[in-house]
């Protein structure tokens, strides 16, 4: 079963990888994705990023999407940690870890979860930069990335 956390505190990638490996099942591939606060967004130098979220919806939907990822990519396990609150350049925001028998499934599971987090998870970033304070705009490229996962996975006539 997936392990999901939404928290203010930092996370330790090594500790999370170790915890997942302890699940001990027969895994051949482990992928981790860490999202970090960048120092620059276009030309703006970021001084602070504040993440707001909708806890009840995040919790409910993250469990559902993680279960879907586990089933769809035959993941042995997955782990998602997302932070909220004030963050600074270099700080980790999000961690996704997937474990599978083979590397393709582990990579695809992690990308699927990240595309979902970017387009559906109810988090909003407010950025303080050299240009003042502003809410970060959603990226069209993220929507396009997420769309590829909605293609049918079962082809007609068993092909």
């Amino acid at each position: 079963m997936a392990h999901i956390r939404v928290q203010k505190d930092p996370f330790d990638v090594a500790q999370e990888l170790a915890a997942l490996q302890k699940k001990g099942a027969d895994m051949g591939a482990l992928v981790s994705f860490t999202g970090l606060v960048r120092e620059f967004d276009d030309d703006r130098r970021i001084t602070k990023l504040t993440l707001e979220h909708y806890p009840a919806m995040t919790k409910r939907q993250l469990h559902a999407i993680a279960a879907e990822a586990e089933a769809r990519f035959s993941l042995v396990h997955c782990r998602v940690i997302h932070r909220f609150g004030p963050l600074h350049p270099g700080d980790p925001i999000v961690l996704v870890i997937t474990a599978a028998r083979h590397r393709k499934a582990a990579f695809e599971g992690a990308e699927f979860l990240m595309d979902w987090l970017k387009t559906k998870a109810p988090f909003w970033k407010k950025e303080e930069s050299s240009n003042g304070s502003q809410w970060v705009a959603a990226q069209e490229s993220d929507d396009l990335a997420a769309q590829k996962w909605t293609a049918p996975t079962v082809k007609p006539n068993g092909q």
Binding site: M57, I93, A121
Partner: protein, 84 residues
Amino acid sequence: MITCLYFAWVRERIGCDEESLSPPSEVGNLHQFLDWLSRKSAAHAHALSDPTILRFAINQDYATMDSPIKKGDEVAIFPPVTGG
């Protein structure tokens, strides 16, 4: 009674993060609810003026304009998400 939650700049424009609302009985779906809500104050009208740049959830699931709304529901209004 309907609990209505606001996030990000929607929250800032409306000026609060949560309201308990009692729309009239002819408000049966999200479209009708937004129509009614946007007449509540100038701040509401401003925040909800362009629904195409907003996203909605009812009871923590994404909702569309024709999604039904009933007493006891939790409605959330927010801009497109920017997490991850």
